[in-house]
């Protein structure tokens, strides 16, 4: 089991970090969340019931760790501040503040980690159909916002 976790970590760490950082809103917090999440997975490996994939089980722990990291941030920037800081003033920012937390998480898991609907569903405890519908809605919201921003 530890060997499987290590293999997953070595193969997918950049993707885990990217998703965790996006959820936490900070690259350093995201990296730390991934380290803590894998440490927790090692400690709790015997509670993995093998009902779903090991990867989905670990993703669930990583997402929870990233959410916790975001909540522990001493000062949360306002969505507008986040956009300005992270786009450095070049080009239109992604108006993530228009999305719900679930929409954002599904978006990150799909785009940053290239996870399929089934794995995302297993990670978040929802159905694959809900993943597809939520992702479609999120894309629509962002596409309309980006188009509006560019044409303004």
């Amino acid at each position: 089991m530890i060997a499987e976790l290590e293999e997953l970590y070595r193969a997918r760490r950049p993707e885990f970090c990217r998703v965790a950082a996006a959820i936490a809103g900070d690259r350093g917090l995201g990296e730390d969340a991934v380290q803590e999440a894998f440490a927790k997975a090692v400690r709790k490996r015997r509670s993995y019931r093998r009902r779903g994939s090991l990867e989905a089980w670990v993703w669930r722990i990583v997402v929870n760790a990233a959410r916790d990291a975001r909540r522990r941030r001493p000062v949360l920037p306002q969505p507008g501040e986040l956009r300005l800081a992270e786009t450095n003033g070049h080009g239109p920012a992604l108006p993530l503040e228009l999305l719900t937390e679930r929409q954002r998480e599904i978006l990150f898991l799909h785009y940053y980690a290239d996870l399929d609907y089934a794995t995302i569903a297993d990670t978040l405890g929802i159905s694959p159909g809900t993943v597809g519908a939520t992702l479609s809605t999120a894309r629509g919201v962002l596409r309309r916002a980006l188009t509006h921003e560019v044409t303004q």
Binding site: R27, Q35, A39, R46, E86, Y112
Partner: protein, 247 residues
């Protein structure tokens, strides 16, 4: 700008990092050590200085499928179907974990249909075999008999204590895959929070009682001479001595 490009800009990719896995393992071990140190500090105040199980981290852990399978099948497939109670597999969970030189050793428990508990002990680093998890266990009530499973097949064993106590049922055995270690385990039928175990070499172990069970890892050559149970007021509530230890 496309959504993909905007997402790339929002959170650039991470680079592979050397030493990351070592850091994971350090963090995984650090919590255990911290807990162990804290436990030892508290234990010192309570004059319970040694052989503590790390049950705080482990207690309540849902049993993995291989352990559940043992509770569901092994106790009833060795010709003892009418003897052993039926375990409620859905409630199988971890109770005690002790650190040994061969890695963590775990005690799992599931309530049974006779108002008692079935138990199972295994080493966390032992991989499940083709027939399920290796280890050994039994049920209360029916305390003087246990069944095990190893690479060499199923086996049965009589409690080494010779006969069960009415207040403290216990056993101490070594198993082939871990030849330098001896597992001491037991179940109390009286209300107690800790026990003391005297060994023939003159030392005394101080163990916590969790869900009426205790667990310790001894050297193979250790010999138990007496076990005493204490309640939370410090009063001694039970004592048992082995009639004769078979070596």
């Amino acid at each position: 700008m496309s959504i993909e490009n905007a997402l790339d800009e929002l959170m650039p990719e991470f680079e592979p990092r050397a030493g990351g896995w070592d850091d994971v393992l350090r963090r995984a071990g650090r919590t255990r050590r911290r807990y162990g140190l804290a436990a030892v500090a508290v234990a010192a105040l309570l004059v319970v200085p040694a052989a503590l199980g790390l049950h705080g981290l482990f207690q309540g852990t849902p049993a993995p499928p291989a352990v559940k399978s043992w509770f569901a099948d092994s106790l009833t497939q060795q010709g003892f179907r009418t003897k052993f109670p039926q375990a409620d597999v859905s409630q199988a969970h971890g109770v005690l974990e002790v650190q040994t030189s061969d890695g963590p050793e775990d005690l799992w428990v599931a309530p049974n249909d006779r108002g008692g508990s079935c138990w199972f002990i295994d080493f966390a680093n032992d991989p499940p075999g083709p027939d399920g998890q290796y280890g050994f266990g039994g049920c209360y009530p029916w305390a003087d008999f246990a069944l095990g499973r190893s690479q060499k097949g199923a086996y049965a064993m009589i409690w080494p204590s010779g006969r069960p106590s009415t207040d403290i049922d216990w056993g101490a055995v070594w198993i082939n895959p871990h030849p330098t270690l001896q597992t001491l385990w037991g179940h109390l039928n009286v209300s107690a929070t800790r026990i003391e175990v005297d060994l023939a070499n003159g030392s005394t172990l101080h163990l916590s009682v969790v869900e009426s069970f205790f667990l310790a890892s001894l050297s193979k050559d250790d010999r138990v001479t007496e076990i005493r149970a204490y309640d939370d007021s410090g009063a001694k509530v039970a004592t048992v001595r082995p009639v004769q230890m078979r070596r």
